[in-house]
């Protein structure tokens, strides 16, 4: 029997290694697998490359990774946000390398990795600092920049509901990078709020088919748990 369910976040992250490239879904707070990232802090893996839209804010999630000095490099589009002081501190100290990527190029480079493409020509960023030193080409009268795939060893993503084959659905705009990161990582670990029987998710509405997900772990988000306990 295929069973991708894991008992807890610690076990789901057991083989994360120092130096790993890790994708983390989310835009703002929506879709960030905070509980998985907290478990990654506890895990202790260091020298990580983090691929995410943001570089963490406040004290939890990626910010906690930053604070614990576990991150060697960040690939993201928008590191500067409310309360991104932990990233800023490490960045200014020269501890963290930043690869700033336009958000759509981040998305399509992740998609290229998932789809096995070698590189893509994208119009975004042409003529800007973010394309400096990159190969360019004119195609049909428009200028494009050659961009390479972004792959990862692990993707930590957040779904709403999953099953033991790894099928996932998401919740509203928390979907964001989850589906494309799931396709681009060797090992995709999804935290979900519910795990259901096989077949309970309508096959027409599956957003991430299980083939892209290696591990599913039910984690009740801390905020929801607090509400439930109140």
């Amino acid at each position: 029997m295929i069973d991708k369910r894991y008992e807890n976040a610690r076990e789901a992250l057991h083989d994360v290694f120092d130096g790993a490239a890790i994708m983390i879904s989310g835009f703002g707070d929506a879709g960030v697998p905070h509980e998985l990232v907290d478990a990654l802090v506890d895990h202790g893996a260091t020298d990580l490359t983090v691929i995410s839209n943001n570089a963490g804010g406040g004290e939890i999630g990626i910010a906690a990774l930053m604070k614990a000095k576990r991150v060697r490099k960040v690939i993201c589009s928008f590191p500067r946000m409310a309360a991104s002081h932990h990233f800023e501190e490490r960045y200014r100290a020269g501890d963290v390398e930043l690869e700033l990527v336009p958000q759509g190029n981040l998305a399509c480079r992740i998609e290229a990795a998932g789809a096995g493409l070698g590189a893509v020509y994208t119009p975004t960023g042409f003529g800007t600092l973010l394309a400096q030193g990159k190969e360019t080409r004119e195609i049909d009268g428009q200028m494009y920049v050659l961009e390479y795939p972004i792959k990862a060893d692990f993707a930590l993503i957040k779904g709403l509901t999953g099953d033991r084959w790894g099928n996932l659905i998401y919740r509203k705009a928390a979907r964001n990078f989850g589906p494309i990161m799931a396709m681009a990582a060797k090992t995709t670990i999804a935290q979900v709020s519910n795990i259901v029987e096989l077949g309970a998710i309508d096959p027409e509405t599956v957003i991430t088919p299980g083939i892209f997900v290696q591990r599913v772990v039910k984690l009740v988000p801390a905020a929801a748990a607090a509400v439930a306990a109140a």
Partner: protein, 215 residues
């Protein structure tokens, strides 16, 4: 000279957005345009984080932090809206499916170059988000900004001195004193507020301006 307020500018931009348009409103002042869209037009707002058919801000009790706009503010979803992932969202932008995007700017050149992501100030932490994708991908790029900096320099320039977001991408510039169409032939004034003369406007901006207005 009377300058338009931000609300007036937002209302003026909203007037130019036609029925049926798919529109992305940038973070900050452009977001205000949503408040002024004519009630008799169906206009569909896209948010880069995977939403089509964004509605107004929710009541406090209805706030859902999984339903936010690009500025991370809570929004709602209209009937007929849809969610999708970041790949599809940026395909919408890059693939020219968005009719109009409205962005803020530090500088815009007379030929439509846009600088709105980085002042290049030493020690600043750069952040680009979706600005470059929108600039290059939307069918029309509207910029709204004050024409002048607080220290009295024109933000409509011959050539941007700040790092570029995109080249020749801005089609129309809405400012607090005039509206310009931009293109390979340079800037053309299509509307003026506050009683400036064409010469005064040219003197303020320091760039040559054509005009579509009666002399």
């Amino acid at each position: 000279m009377q300058r338009m307020t931000r609300e007036q500018m937002a209302a003026r931009v909203a007037r130019d957005i036609p029925e049926g348009a798919y529109v992305n409103l940038g973070i900050g002042v452009p977001t205000m345009v949503a408040n002024f869209l004519p009630a008799d037009r169906e206009i569909i707002l896209q948010s880069e984080n995977g939403i089509l058919g964004m509605g107004p801000a929710p009541a406090e009790a209805d706030i859902d932090w999984d339903l936010i706009n690009a500025g991370k503010q809570p929004v709602t979803l209209l009937a007929g809206g849809a969610f999708f992932h970041h790949g599809d969202s940026f395909a919408m932008m890059r693939g020219s499916h968005i009719d109009i995007c409205v962005l803020g700017a530090f500088q815009v050149s007379v030929t439509g170059d846009l600088a709105n992501w980085n002042t290049g100030a030493p020690g600043s932490i750069p952040a680009v988000g979706g600005a470059m994708d929108l600039a290059v991908g939307a069918k029309q790029v509207f910029v709204m900004m004050d024409l002048m900096t607080k220290t009295g320099e024109s933000k409509l320039v011959d050539k941007c001195t700040y790092p570029l977001t995109g080249i020749g991408c801005v089609t129309r510039l809405y400012t607090d004193v005039a509206i310009f169409e931009l293109g390979l032939d340079g800037a053309e004034v299509i509307e003026m507020h506050g009683g400036l003369s064409h010469g005064e406007l040219e003197a303020m901006t320091g760039v040559p301006l054509r005009s579509r207005l009666p002399a």
